[in-house]
């Protein structure tokens, strides 16, 4: 057969690469010890990445099993291409899994099985991953994350000059940046000295050569191989100069090989260039083509591209047609749709493109390579002029869907709109409605609320006359959640009921979603049956493994509990946080922590709140709503304590909420700023902070928001009638009945508001109680006001013994200590206070430390001594 040609410049390519070879060998040594590695070798085109990897592999030939796969330079690469290459070479299930179109996780499992199956340590080489399809990149990410445990060496190469900022490989590189076992090797151009070494035998001007080639090894070797004395200005010229030395037949063969990206199999070469096959040896000998295991390829992709571009356009089309025809009858018998579609387009064969591209798209979609699928559908659309409207609309719809799944939803929107227009023109109202529904949710994802609402209204108008259908149910459901988002509770419920009538019991996803929305709406109206619905949603979601929906269920319960000050729900919240942690639902977890912090604030547990917040306000939290919640709670803790630096937090929260028109974002900011204005006695600032939001809250019937705002506005000195329909405790307080208000707040478990109610009393004993309570909470700002009021009545200041907790214990720790002294074990304390056992253990340890006690018994005795517990 064909003998691998020894490249004349093999030795030359490896100048100045010793360090990198050592790095690879160290990585391999680690692999032999059982610790895997993933190495990214990067550099410009022609810098010698493949050469380096090849040299390294040839050194390990006996010690390792080497598996090689390359990514295609097709515009739409074969999904999982490199792994298909590997699969073809080994005996196991990997090839079968890919051929069967299995999803990426299953392919990954087959790959891992294959990697672990050999006795010799395994080296996997993946070339040109900057060209990789989405599914391949997913696997690279997985390999990187598990590099150390897998115990194999994975070496990848990629071109740095083909990596724009938004390139998906950058995301993978970023994700793996801090993972142990992932290394990066970057190759630099050759130094002038190295170039001089190479140039010496031919007597070329080394300085000129280095300057013109910028030390690029490929460029240098092309120039040297062309044998010219003059150094050409570009790589292209260098390559062409070299190929010019071949005779016509050889160049004919070269052209044929050039139109096939990457590797051209021998059977394919025969099929398309049968008559010039004899020139193959000459091409190989000259070094322009290189023999691989399964066929021939240009020595470098740059060379191939240069030759391909230099072919006469007409001849190029003919060659692509020949390749297309040949690939339809492949030696292996299996059709490679992505490849076929590529050549069909290059050949300008409309019928072939329309036949092959959609199928290639389906194949890509099935394995999760959504970007490639979208590109295939886009390719088909470019040739779709002659298609019927139905077929065209179908392609548009599918492309839009694939764009969405690839995280590029925006790009697919024009296609979706065009599809809608097609269906409308055809009179297919069902499809028109379904697409309008999709359009609405896409617009919503892009935060285009008005456009979303318009689209869903249209969808409903189109679908309703057709009678009940899953599409109509989906439209009602979307309308329901849009309304819920704006807290238009009545509308949300009305749409929700209609949706629930139509939703099939078996459609768990739709049912879970709507139960969540409707239940939340009912809870906002203080209807307890809402809780049942949301809990049912969580239950169904958990059973069906719909993790995100479980998270969403907990989230709804949390924000409503926080909003309505329903603290009995605390245990459920802890369970929710646990679920999100276990299932990696990081964003939901942060939301739940934020709502927990808000509830800790309202329950007077300000230290716990501050602790929760430090977790959320770490650098990586970008979600605006989470930050707004956290910033406003922390700012309020600071203003109530009289601590500095609350203003900057409120400013940041204000800017985050700007431009978002819903209460969820704006209410926390308005409330916190109005409260701050109240302490400063600035009615003007209070009005500016709350006028708009109060109006919105009253309109939407958000009684707790309007109540809190009305309260702080009053305390800031704004004179106005108490608005109707605000939350009860606030209404009672604003009516002047401080006694009833205090009782109500005590019932709810809000000690700060209760103390503020007592602080409005006339009699000095109540004022003193208020002062004690405020002292316990550390509410210095309000305490100062009450002290002044007491002094005006000639009463001395606060009782010193209650100004701070004895022994420096926090109020929470006092609670725990009391229960310890009562003889409860940690598990019982956890149960009683609704904490995790670990948290209780932490508190107990801190208490023992602060009291200088060695045992619980000693601590209990100390508690008695401090008057915190009765001796028993």
């Amino acid at each position: 057969m064909v003998v691998p040609a020894v490249s004349a410049s093999a030795a030359a390519e490896l100048l100045e690469r010793e360090e990198e070879l050592v790095a690879l060998e160290d990585a391999f040594a680690a692999t032999r010890r059982g610790e895997g590695r993933l190495v990214f070798v990067s550099g410009d085109a022609g810098i010698g990445k493949s050469a380096l990897v090849r040299a390294f592999c040839s050194r390990q030939e006996d010690a390792a099993r080497i598996l090689v796969g390359s990514c295609d330079s097709l515009r739409t690469p074969r999904p999982l291409g490199p792994f298909a290459d590997i699969g073809a070479r080994v005996d196991g299930s990997l090839g079968a899994a890919i051929a069967a179109g299995m999803a990426t996780p299953k392919v990954f499992d087959a790959l891992v099985q294959e990697l672990r199956s050999a006795e010799k340590p395994t080296v996997v080489v993946l070339e040109d991953v900057h060209l990789a399809d989405e599914a391949t990149l997913d696997i690279v990410g997985l390999l990187g994350r598990r590099a150390v445990q897998l115990g194999v060496l994975v070496v990848t190469t990629y071109r740095t000059d083909e990596l724009p900022r938004a390139h998906p490989l950058r995301i993978v590189l970023g994700d793996l940046a801090t993972i142990a076992g992932v290394l990066r090797i970057h190759l630099d151009p050759l130094s002038p000295a190295a170039v001089a070494t190479l140039a010496a035998p031919q007597g070329l001007d080394a300085e000129d050569l280095h300057a013109k080639t910028a030390g690029n090894p490929f460029f240098v070797t092309e120039v040297l191989a062309s044998g010219n004395v003059d150094v050409p200005a570009t790589v292209r010229d260098a390559v062409l100069a070299r190929t010019a030395r071949l005779d016509d037949t050889a160049r004919g063969l070269l052209d044929a090989v050039a139109v096939v990206p990457q590797l051209t199999e021998l059977w394919l070469v025969e099929a398309i260039a049968g008559d010039v096959l004899g020139a193959l040896d000459e091409c190989l000998d000259s070094g322009v083509l290189r023999a691989e295991e399964r066929g021939v390829a240009f020595r470098h992709e740059l060379a191939r591209l240069t030759v391909e571009e230099s072919i006469d356009p007409h001849r190029r089309v003919l060659l692509h047609r020949a390749v297309l025809a040949a690939l339809r009858r492949p030696a292996s018998g299996r059709l490679d749709l992505a490849r076929l579609a590529h050549h069909a387009e290059a050949a300008g064969d409309t019928a072939a493109v329309l036949e092959l591209a959609p199928r290639a798209g389906e194949q890509a979609a099935a394995v999760g390579a959504h970007r490639e699928a979208a590109a295939q559908y886009a390719r088909a659309l470019r040739y779709a002029d002659g298609l019927s409207m139905v077929e065209r609309a179908g392609l548009l719809e599918r492309r839009a869907f694939e764009c969405y799944l690839a995280g590029q939803g925006r790009e697919g929107l024009p296609d979706l709109e065009e599809a809608i227009a097609c269906y409308r023109a055809m009179g297919d109202r069902q499809k028109e409605g379904a697409c309008l529904c999709l359009l609405a949710s896409r617009r919503w994802c892009e935060s285009e609320m008005t456009a979303a609402a318009a689209a869903i209204d249209e969808a409903i108008a189109v679908l309703e006359p057709l009678g009940g259908s899953p599409e109509l149910a989906r439209a009602y459901s979307a309308a329901s959640s849009f309304a819920m988002n704006e807290e238009k509770v009545e509308a949300a419920l009305a749409w929700g009921e209609r949706a629930l009538e139509l939703i099939d019991e078996a459609d768990t996803e739709a049912l879970v979603y709507q139960l969540n929305t409707s239940g939340s709406a009912e809870l906002l109206q203080a209807r307890p049956e809402g809780r049942d619905r949301v809990e049912r949603s969580i239950e169904l979601a958990e059973a069906a493994g719909l993790e995100v929906d479980v998270g969403r269920g907990f989230l709804q319960l949390a924000w409503i509990a926080a909003r309505t000050r329903d603290f009995e729900w605390a245990r459920r919240l802890a369970e929710g946080i646990e679920y999100c942690t276990q299932h990696g639902l990081e964003l939901w977890r942060l939301y739940l922590l934020a709502y927990r912090a808000r509830m800790e604030l309202d329950r007077g547990r300000w230290e716990d709140a501050a602790d929760s917040l430090s977790v959320i306000l770490g650098p990586s939290t970008e979600q605006p709503l989470v930050r707004i919640l956290a910033l406003t709670v922390l700012a309020t803790v600071r203003t109530r304590r009289g601590d500095p630096e609350s203003a900057p937090l409120l400013e940041e929260a204000l800017s985050l909420a700007a431009g978002v028109d819903d209460l969820q974002h704006r209410a926390p900011v308005a409330i916190a700023r109005t409260e701050a204005a109240a302490y400063a006695g600035r009615s003007d600032l209070a009005a500016a902070a709350s006028d708009d939001v109060l109006a919105l809250a009253l309109e939407r019937g958000a009684v707790w928001v309007s109540g809190e705002l009305a309260f702080w506005r009053w305390r800031a000195g704004i004179v106005e009638a108490c608005p109707a329909g605000i939350a009860e405790p606030f209404a009672v307080h604003l009516s002047g009945d401080w006694r009833a208000a205090a009782a109500r707040w005590q019932e709810l478990g809000c000690p700060y508001e209760a103390a503020l109610a007592y602080a409005d009393a006339d009699d000095p004993d109540r004022l003193q109680d208020a002062l004690d309570q405020l002292g316990q909470l550390g509410a210095a700002t309000a305490a100062a006001t009450v002290t002044r009021r007491l002094r005006d009545r000639g009463v001395r200041g606060p009782r010193p013994s209650t100004r701070r907790n004895p022994a420096g214990l926090t109020s929470r720790q006092v609670e725990v200590l009391q229960l310890v002294a009562d003889g409860l074990r940690n598990a019982e304390i956890a149960e009683r206070l609704v904490l995790s056992q670990r948290t209780v253990e932490h508190h107990v340890a801190a208490i023992l430390d602060k009291l200088g006690a060695r045992t619980r018994a000693e601590a209990s005795a100390e508690a008695v001594r401090l008057g915190l517990s009765d001796p028993s």
């Binding site: 230290e607 500095p644 550390g778 602060k850």
Partner: protein, 98 residues
């Protein structure tokens, strides 16, 4: 890192024992502070020991309160401050004049 003045009141008068015991007490405070990234720079104590003004470098007011509670120290008020040196502006003028 921001600087704070922390005001504390000790109704019974602050009393730090002399000698090794006092040194130990102070150093324990310093060590506990480092857990939260808090640095005690120094303090001003009134003659009757009933009021102190403590200068701290800390990441946040919450960190100061946490370490205060661990060290069993009261906190009356926390104020964020910037250092102002009486000769700062004079120096600036002198430098510019050169």
């Amino acid at each position: 890192m921001p600087r704070y003045v922390v005001e504390r009141s000790f109704p019974g008068g602050l009393a730090i024992p002399g000698g090794a015991e006092g040194a130990r007490a102070c150093l324990t405070v310093v060590k506990r502070n480092t857990d939260e990234g808090v640095t005690w720079v120094h303090s001003y104590v009134s003659d009757d020991g009933q009021k102190t003004f403590c200068i701290y470098d800390a990441p946040s007011p919450e960190a100061i309160r946490k370490t205060a509670s661990r060290n069993e120290l009261p906190v009356d008020r926390i104020t964020q401050v910037r250092v102002l040196d009486p000769y700062f502006y004079a120096q600036e003028i002198a430098v510019r004049a050169r």
